[in-house]
Every structure is written in structure tokens, then in C-alpha cells.
């Protein structure tokens, strides 16, 4: 920052010397902020950051955020409604090659699904067991509030957040789980009456308790928030002797009372396993099931019986 070292101008210029300064020079001086203004603004920013940091979850900034969100949220929802069809236009211009590739991918998927179907009898058996366990443990059914993504934070902010078009009016509150059809998306950090801000699990500050679906081993799935398309989640297992296998499915382990994460939501598949020499444990790279760059329709897990537009645990839709 350059300091203004010129002498202070006198407030009453003498009549004789009025022609000394050129008009351009005066215009330039008039437009320059005083040092005190610059210092005041910088200090204001610093104070704001300190207050927000010290306040933590219930900082005095949160109510302000909420009020601004009440105003801007509906506008964002309106703009998103207009933009959604337009944004889909590039997808219509696909090349023949990419379509062929897609067909072969889908054929491979089909084959895999047929094999799964062959094992369905066994899975049914297991499902019945699970149903029995569930009945024993009491009714743990959850309902879902459907919502759409209306605003997405830029990568320059280095935090992965999105805004949903449902808020406290639809029964949402902070620390609820957000899922998509494919798996876990994240958790709600703040709500206004019509919008909710979601911290995605790929954010570097996110940590989710996860377990390997096949052998129930526990671990922590951390967001990476970094470059690359497929290595954005990392899992570290609690038990050092267990080696995760490539292709194993990771599901959430669940928090107490289902907040912020409910149990049993698929997170992703193990794609790479490597040994961490320093910590003498295995770390695995997880490919998330959800495509975070193409999020649209998601759902928020709420307790069953929440009033409003929800999908109940038995599949019925309450208007």
C-alpha cells in the first residue's frame, strides 16, 4: 500500500494562489480516499473476520446471512428456473462418437446388472433379515424433502457449497443429511425460510464417518476439495490391520440421532489403496457416487411425519 506523503491541503486557499493547481490535479486529489478511510475499511474487514471466527456456529454474522438469504434466495431460484433449460442445450449437441461410447458403457452396465439379478435371491434373503432387524430396533424410517440446487459456489472460494431451494418453511434446519439418487451429497450448514446452504462432502473441511459395506469396518471419509475428477474423497480406517479392496462400497456410519449424517447412505467406491508409512495405516481413495459438478435434484433427510411436501419412508408422497 502506498502512503500519501504529500502535505495536507489547507482548507482556506489564499486568493492569490488559486491558479497554482491545475484542474486535473485537483480532480485527482478529490477522488483519492483519505488514509483514515482506507485504514477504517481494512480494520472493518479484519474485525468482521475475527468476530465471525470467534463466534463459531452462533456468530453474530449468522442472522445477517439469514436475512440476506431471505432476500436473495428467491431471486436465485427465479434465475435458476430460467437458466436450467438453457444450460442443457450444449448436451444436445453430442458427437456420434460420444454416443457410441455411451452405448458400449451402458451395455457393460447392463451385463453387470444381469449378474446382480442372478444373485437377487440371496440378496432377498438378506433383505428379509435386515427388515426383521429393523422392526426389532424400532421404526427408524426417514422421510425425504425434495429440493433443487439453485446456486453453486465458485472454486475460487476454496469451499464447496451449494444453495437449495427449500428452507425452514419446508421443515429443514442445519445439520440435516442431503442425499441424491446416487448417494450422499453433504449436510446443511445454514437455512433461511426458502433456501438452505449445503456443505458438500468433497469440501476439505468435511469429515464423514463411513464404513466398508462388505465387512462393516469403520473409518473417516475426508473431503479433498482439490484437483482431479475422481480422487476427491479419502478414507482412513480405524483398524490398521484391515486392507480395503478396490471396488468395495462405502456407506455412512451414522451419527447420534441421525444428525448431521444418517446411517447407511452410500458414499462411493474404493478406487485406490495405498499404505501411509508415517501413520502405519491404509488410506483409500474413494470415487464418490454423486457427480458433484452436475448436481440438480437432491433430497434432504428429515424425521418421518414432517409436515409439508415430503416423500415418506414407505414411498408415499404427501402433498
Amino acid at each position: 500500500m502506498t502512503l500519501d506523503t504529500r502535505p495536507v491541503r489547507t482548507t482556506t486557499p489564499s486568493q492569490g494562489s488559486s491558479g497554482r493547481r491545475t484542474p486535473a490535479r485537483e480532480a485527482e486529489d478529490r477522488g483519492r480516499p483519505s488514509r483514515s478511510l482506507v485504514v477504517a475499511l481494512v480494520l472493518a474487514c479484519a474485525a468482521l473476520m475475527v468476530v465471525d471466527k470467534a463466534g463459531g456456529d452462533d456468530s453474530p454474522i449468522a442472522p445477517v446471512r439469514r436475512v440476506v438469504g431471505e432476500v436473495i434466495g428467491p431471486v436465485q431460484a427465479g434465475v435458476a428456473t430460467v437458466v436450467r433449460p438453457v444450460a442443457g442445450v450444449p448436451g444436445a449437441f453430442r458427437t456420434n462418437d460420444s454416443l457410441r461410447e455411451k452405448v458400449s458403457d451402458l451395455e457393460a452396465d447392463n451385463a453387470a446388472l444381469r449378474i446382480q439379478l442372478g444373485k437377487a435371491g440371496y440378496d432377498d434373503q438378506r433383505l428379509q433379515d435386515l427388515e426383521g432387524l429393523r422392526a426389532m430396533a424400532g421404526d427408524l424410517g426417514y422421510a425425504l424433502v425434495p429440493a433443487r440446487v439453485i446456486a453453486i459456489g465458485a472454486a475460487q472460494s476454496f469451499s464447496s457449497t451449494v444453495t437449495l431451494d427449500a428452507g425452514s418453511d419446508a421443515g429443514l434446519r442445519p445439520d440435516l443429511t442431503v442425499v441424491a439418487a446416487e448417494g450422499l451429497v453433504g449436510r446443511i450448514t445454514s437455512v433461511t425460510s426458502h433456501t438452505a446452504t449445503v456443505l458438500l462432502i468433497v469440501d476439505s473441511s468435511s469429515a464423514v464417518g463411513g464404513r466398508i459395506g462388505a465387512n462393516k469396518e469403520l473409518g473417516f471419509v475426508n473431503g479433498h476439495g482439490t484437483l482431479g475428477e475422481d480422487d476427491r474423497l479419502e478414507m482412513e480406517l480405524a483398524d490398521r490391520n484391515v486392507v480395503p479392496k478396490v471396488g468395495q462400497q462405502i456407506v455412512t456410519w451414522g451419527s447420534e440421532g441421525g444428525s448431521p449424517y444418517v446411517a447407511g447412505v452410500p458414499i462411493g467406491k474404493v478406487t485406490k489403496v495405498y499404505e501411509s508409512l508415517r501413520e502405519t495405516s491404509y488410506r483409500s481413495v474413494i470415487a464418490p457416487n454423486v457427480d458433484f459438478t452436475a448436481l440438480d435434484l437432491v433430497a434432504v433427510v428429515v424425521p418421518s411425519g414432517t409436515p409439508g411436501r415430503v416423500i415418506e419412508a414407505d414411498g408415499s408422497l404427501t402433498p
Binding site: G31, M49, A155
Partner: protein, 196 residues
């Protein structure tokens, strides 16, 4: 004062809010996929640059502060409030001072408001502003341990953002500059018409 200050304020508010809306709702669909969620041009920062070129340093600094504040508080922002405010205040001050102190053209077009800033100046200002703004924002995050990304991870995102900002500046800065001129020079034009 020749300039219409109410019109100028209105122009800045329209430009900042419009840029914010575009930045979070429209552009993510066409983003450059580098980081977790795609880098988009920082339109609010470019509006501050346009303000610095079209008005004076004091006004640009204040615009930077309040535009940053909006960016900090409007959803989907979740970082510590005040980080973008600080970054854009610095951008407004630095670009304003550099443009108005070192460039003869800017000093000359300022009082009558007839000439557009030259293209090279716009691009240089956008590149400098993007670098300064993103760095200040990222560094405050590192100091306050708000975002635990390392410098090696921040750098590629900052570079892509710089590139996109320069490209977007070709459109955004002239548009915002035109809006500012249009709304703030209204009354001056009317008085000139009346005199003629």
C-alpha cells in the same frame, strides 16, 4: 459536482447484484472444471475494476468493500465473513491508485466522461485485480485456517481464474463502465442540453 451521485450509486448496485446473480446461478453451468466445483469468472471483482476505471479511487475502494460484503454474506457463501470484503477493498484501492496516478488517459477522461478506457488498460487492470483479489482471499483463508488447502492447490485455481477473468473483462468491464456512465452522467448531459 458534475456527476449524478444518486444515479452512480444505483448503477453500482445494479452492476454488483447482477454480477453476483450471474456468478452463482448462470456461470457454474459453463464452468471450467479444475477445482472441486469449477472455476467461474469473478464478475463482482470485474465490476469493482470497472468502477475503479470509471470513477475515482475513493469510490472504488468503498464499492469494493460493500461488494465484497455482499459476496461474503449472500448464499451459498459459507466462509468467514470479511474475507472477500478485504480482498475487494484492496483491489478497488490498488487498481484505482495505479490507474489514476500512472495513466494520463484515465486522468483526462475522468472529468468529462466521454472517452472509454483503452483495451490494454482494461485487460491489465483485470489481470492485476484477479491476481491480487484471489491471492488476498486465499491468503486470509490460510492465515485464519478457514480453508485448509495448501498453496500448491491454490495456485492452479488462481491461474485459471486469472485467465477467465481476463477473457470475461472484455465484456464485463465495458458493460459496467457504460452502465456507470449512462446513469451517473445523466444530469450533466441534461444541463448541457439546457444550455445549448
Amino acid at each position: 459536482m458534475r456527476t449524478n451521485s444518486a444515479g452512480r450509486l444505483l448503477a453500482v448496485i445494479i452492476a454488483v447484484l447482477g454480477a453476483l446473480m450471474l456468478q452463482v446461478t448462470v456461470l457454474p453451468h459453463f464452468a471450467w472444471r479444475v477445482g472441486g466445483l469449477g472455476v467461474v469468472p469473478d464478475l463482482v471483482l470485474l465490476v469493482v475494476v470497472a468502477t475503479a476505471l470509471a470513477t475515482d479511487t475513493r469510490y472504488a475502494t468503498l464499492t469494493g468493500f460493500f461488494a465484497g460484503l455482499v459476496l461474503d454474506i449472500a448464499p451459498p457463501a459459507d466462509h468467514l465473513a470479511g474475507r472477500w470484503a478485504l480482498a475487494l477493498t484492496v483491489v478497488g484501492y490498488v487498481i484505482g491508485r495505479l490507474a489514476h496516478d500512472n495513466t494520463a488517459e484515465v486522468a483526462r477522461f475522468e472529468p468529462d466522461g466521454l472517452r472509454r478506457p483503452p483495451l490494454a488498460l482494461v485487460l491489465a487492470a483485470a489481470a492485476g485485480a484477479s491476481f491480487v483479489g484471489t491471492s488476498v482471499f486465499a491468503l486470509t483463508g490460510v492465515f485464519l485456517s478457514d480453508a485448509d488447502a495448501s498453496v500448491g492447490e491454490l495456485l492452479p485455481v488462481a491461474l485459471v481464474a486469472l485467465l477467465l477473468d481476463v477473457v470475461a473483462a472484455l465484456v464485463v468491464v465495458p458493460a459496467a463502465w457504460w452502465l456507470l456512465r449512462r446513469l451517473s452522467a445523466d444530469r450533466a448531459a441534461q444541463t448541457q442540453w439546457a444550455r445549448a
